[in-house]
Symmetry: C2
Subunit: 335 residues, 2 copies
């Protein structure tokens, strides 16, 4: 209707027959029934509470990242710091029945990424989601919970305190009208908003067939990055993450890995590997190299050493991040 009439006002003023012609059966029925006065009254009342607001597709505060998805919700109910919708954000999702280690990782990644300026988006579920929100709330970038119920309800009840903290220092968000109970069919639909709000989705622990994989899949469909934390091949809750990595998700070991991929950190890839100071023979080779690209034969001549000795030292220097291998059999000193 927005495409056909240009604005909600124009649609409301259009001839009924023109409107009806555009709609499928379910929408026609809704149109004939007209607005639900009770629900509207409830929403108007709800909007009087401080912190509550409604954001529609046409509003300036509607999240830009979400507009660039195939199916953005026309209306978002919001409770909390609406300005968080304008920030760079990362979704962190995973298993409800997470391991203690997974919970710790989710919290630590969320806190570190929050301090780096990313608002943490998740779904207020138990386990990884709740841990991600807790970690995010510790930074100024804070956290957004996208829920599958009306904002006048908290699901699961166990996360009531967390929901209150999010309403005060973060943001609660829902596309579902007030009063909507937790319905199984709404959760996958909600997941597309979690991935759609964020620049990328990090999966911390996930079983095969789990909802977290649906969120990750939707992130890929939306053209966003997908990150996954690996674990033991014997842990059922790592199998979903491993499956994602096999499908092309980025394996991450640290918050730095995520920031680097999102272009928020300029450290060279080698930096994470660099560590040991070069040995005496390595220093000798580095000095012989200079900083211009050089080939193996020239190095062997300069140092009067056989190929196998020099190539072994070059491999070590490469692994330690001191040199880089260039196309055409050339090597270049980096440090």
């Amino acid at each position: 209707m927005l495409t056909a009439f240009g604005s909600p006002g124009a649609a409301l003023q259009a001839r009924t027959s023109d409107v009806i012609a555009l709609l499928n059966q379910r929408a026609r029925d809704a149109w004939r029934l007209g607005p639900d006065a009770t629900l509207i009254g409830r929403v108007v009342e709800w909007l009087r509470s401080p912190g509550n607001s409604i954001v529609t597709l046409g509003d300036a505060s509607y999240p830009r990242a979400l507009i660039n998805t195939p199916d953005p919700p026309p209306v978002l109910y919001a409770k909390g710091r609406l300005e968080l919708l304008a920030r760079r954000s990362l979704a962190i999702v995973g298993a409800r029945s997470a391991t203690p280690g997974g919970v710790r990782d989710a919290e630590a990644f969320a806190e570190a990424l929050g301090h780096a300026g990313l608002t943490i988006v998740s779904g207020l579920a138990n386990g990884i989601d709740a841990a991600a929100h807790r970690g995010g709330l510790r930074s100024e970038a804070s956290s957004i919970a996208v829920v599958a119920t009306g904002l006048d309800k908290v699901y699961p009840a166990r996360n009531r305190d967390l929901a209150h903290q999010l309403a005060e220092r973060g943001l609660l968000l829902s596309e579902f009208p007030l009063g909507t109970p937790p319905l199984a069919s709404n959760f996958p639909r909600r997941n597309r908003v979690i991935s759609g709000l964020a620049q990328g989705t990090l999966v911390v622990e996930a079983a095969l067939h789990s909802g977290s994989l649906i969120t990750a899949r939707q992130a890929l469909d939306q053209g966003r990055e997908v990150f996954a934390i690996p674990g033991s091949i014997h842990s059922p809750l790592s199998k979903g993450c491993h499956w994602l990595i096999k499908q092309g998700a980025k394996l991450v070991e640290s918050a730095g890995d995520v920031l680097e991929e999102l272009g928020m950190q300029t450290a060279p890839a080698a930096a994470s590997v660099r560590g040991d100071p070069p040995s005496e023979e390595e220093v000798q080779l580095l000095e012989a190299m200079g900083f211009a690209p050089i080939d193996l034969d020239t190095l062997c001549e300069q140092l009067a050493s056989p190929v196998e000795v020099i190539s072994t030292i070059l491999l070590k220097l490469e692994l330690e991040g001191h040199i880089s291998r260039l196309p055409g059999g050339l090597f270049q000193r980096l440090t």
Copy 2:
């Protein structure tokens, strides 16, 4: 010299000045000193023992995979089942100070891959190497140890029993003359033979900067597959594997993952994920799909369901391996 003269016989008959012109200083000195009669006597004596043999670049039994590397050793000393050199093989390498879990994994992967027909190649070191040999020895495809000493020595001494088993039911291999002690500089050189013999290299546990990463790097340079087993992001012995996966190594969770990549198993990628039987709504959708490619809108019409419901079921079916997503927004039933 082989390139210049065509055969060792022709080289030996060539004029000394022609030979000398080809050689660098070290090789000239060796040429002037002439053959080491003591070493030759020792080798001739050693060759009298059953199971001992020498394979040179020109022999039919010289491993074909090794010829296709930049720097194949001209001579290989061998002890055991020489016919193993003609078989498809996989290198399994990793940390000497492996965890008990890593040792179990190395042994289990080696045994399963051995039963699938792959001879297991490793370096007779403690930890992962030894476990890989033990697992490989349990299958008919057996195991090859490529060592960095002369074959009249066993290093490390702790693996003496294992070396005897390999000599009897597998193969010990070295490019170094009899009497060569364990020298640090020979180990990376030896590693190129481990990776060069095999179709791929599987790294089970490895620290950053470790020799296993050098072997993996050499496998890549030799155009072979590299596989790595992931683990906890908090385990130092998984960091090398994670680094390799980030560089493009294949993450593997099972022997099947390796076999599939080597084209030795035709199971579709989805098979490892498939599990739960489809639910009632999934069966209904599968039946509506038929086995020809179909688009989302057509499915929604056929089932008179909204897009979000159908696309959610499609995602589940895809994750479970029952359908495949084709280019152009089409879906196809697989099961």
